[in-house]
Amino acid sequence: MIASGSEFEPVFIFVVIGLLVAIGMLTVSAVLGPRKTTAVKQMPYESGMDPIGDARNRFDVRYYLVAIVFLLFDVELLYLYPWAVSHWSASTATATIDSDDSAATTSAAEPAFPPPGIPPTLRKVVLFDVLVFIAVLAAAFAYAWRKGVFEWR
């Protein structure tokens, strides 16, 4: 079955209702709560002292490094998910984990486009490719480790 996008309609409706619930909570709280502002209440909280300087200061560069390494691995995950789904989902009567998969048998009857999953003959090659992909990323990971990205003091 090729997705038409209409299966996401309930999700969008749910998002709208979630937003309405959130706005409702804020409104009820704003309407029912008291509102007495004093100068001290308006100050940033700093354990009772008058605040010193601005809070939006310079901060440690390591947070940026972690964010960059995060991007590397997040993109890796994005590539691995489609592979994980499709690796065994092609139909072979004997070799798949469960041969009674209904989706696989129907797709064998009528050729779907794109064909579901990786053809059984290519599985070893694809697995090797994925392992190479993981190895390259592991090398990048080792480099970041050597460079001290993950050292926190």
């Binding site: 299966e7 409706i13 979630g18 704003a30 100050m43 809070a55 690796h87 984990i97």
Partner: protein, 355 residues
């Protein structure tokens, strides 16, 4: 397009999910206070409602909720107002809409029927077949709530808490994603219901992916900001962390969001590693009667409740991590372990199944 009948059913389902989850959160806070009390040899809340003959302080959550709404909603002068108001909304919306793809009972072919051809799906969006990716994506959006709250508050505690928290959340997202990949590879699907049905036929995920389960569990604790990973709001160092400046219902929304997150993560753990509604030898995907459906929902909810109690129990068992050990655990232990687990799973599946 949705028909009128479909829309009505959908709105009923959404109403049920939102209502039950908010009510459950209120009582989870009560349960957590009771567990905390017993863990520390106290009694916990037991007075509230005694005048009306309600035992055990059972209307304490209602009183807490009323207090949240009736308190003054302070918006300090130096905050960036739009993001300050937006942050708690993001927190609660992202925590709520994660439930859209969670199956609460049998879905798809195994769903019970009203009349001849009207299957009742125990899921808000039964057609979505990328449930795991959706939940991970929504979980990533939750980082924005923390970052925006920390930055907009213009408070040093909030700022530090927000920084720490965002680094923690994005760090643990990677081991979490990696740990799920093993089970996705075996079950061949990102659809949560298909994964449950696969476990129904082949045994629970925890037996196939014990290492993946451990990585997932640790990351789940970190993603929900629960002890031992509650550094974003470590009260001894950072007062309240990113929600220091928040009061009244805005604070309550962060609180609600956190507990909703705990429920979502418990559902995910049960669905991915404990078979969802599956009970070996008793319940299977072939049963489509209403009685079996109700039993499946009960089994599912019992497992989720046990998982939530487990999360609360851990809180009183382990002390908080130090920040460097926290980051070391994510990057130097869980990430290599996750990659290794995935590689071994893929190679072992290839060698055993061939092809």
């Amino acid at each position: 397009m949705l028909t009128f009948l479909g829309l009505t059913a959908l709105l009923i389902k959404i109403g049920l999910v939102v209502g039950i989850s908010q009510g459950a959160v209120a009582y989870l806070i009560y349960v957590e206070r009771k567990i905390a009390a017993y863990a520390q040899d106290r009694i916990g809340p037991n007075r509230c409602g005694r005048e009306f003959g309600v035992p055990l302080g059972l209307i304490q959550p209602l009183a807490d909720g009323a207090k949240m709404i009736l308190k003054e909603d302070v918006i300090p002068k130096y905050v960036h107002k739009p993001t300050f108001i937006l942050a708690p909304m993001i927190a609660i919306v992202t925590a709520t809409i994660g439930f859209a793809v969670v199956p609460f009972g049998p879905v798809g072919a195994g769903a019970p029927r009203l009349g001849a051809d009207w299957p009742v799906q125990f899921q808000i969006a039964p057609g979505v077949d990328i449930g795991i990716v959706y939940i991970l994506a929504i979980g990533s959006l939750a980082v924005y709530a923390v970052v925006l709250a920390g930055w907009s508050s213009n408070n040093k505690y909030s700022f530090l808490g927000g920084l720490r928290s965002s680094a923690q959340l994005i760090s643990y997202e990677i081991p979490m994603g990696l740990s799920i990949l093993g089970i996705v590879l075996l079950a061949k699907s990102l659809d949560l219901n298909t994964i449950i049905e696969w476990q129904d036929r082949h045994g629970w995920g925890i037996f196939w992916q014990p290492v993946g389960f451990l990585i997932f569990l640790v990351s789940a604790f970190a993603e929900t900001n629960r002890l031992p990973f509650d550094l974003p709001e470590s009260e001894q160092e950072l007062v309240g962390g990113f929600h220091t400046e928040y009061s009244a219902m805005k604070f309550g929304m962060f609180f609600l969001g956190e507990y909703l997150h705990v429920i979502t993560v418990s559902f995910l753990t049960v669905i991915l590693f404990f078979g969802g509604w599956d009970l070996p030898f008793v319940l299977s995907a072939d049963q489509t009667s209403w009685i079996s459906a109700i039993f499946k929902v009960i089994v599912m909810m019992s497992k989720v409740s046990l998982m939530i109690v487990f999360i609360m129990w851990i809180r009183w068992t382990l002390p908080r991590f130090r920040y460097d050990t926290l980051m070391n655990l994510a990057w130097k232990s869980l990430l290599p372990l996750g990659l290794l687990n995935l590689t071994i799973t893929a190679v072992a599946a290839q060698m055993i199944l061939g092809g």
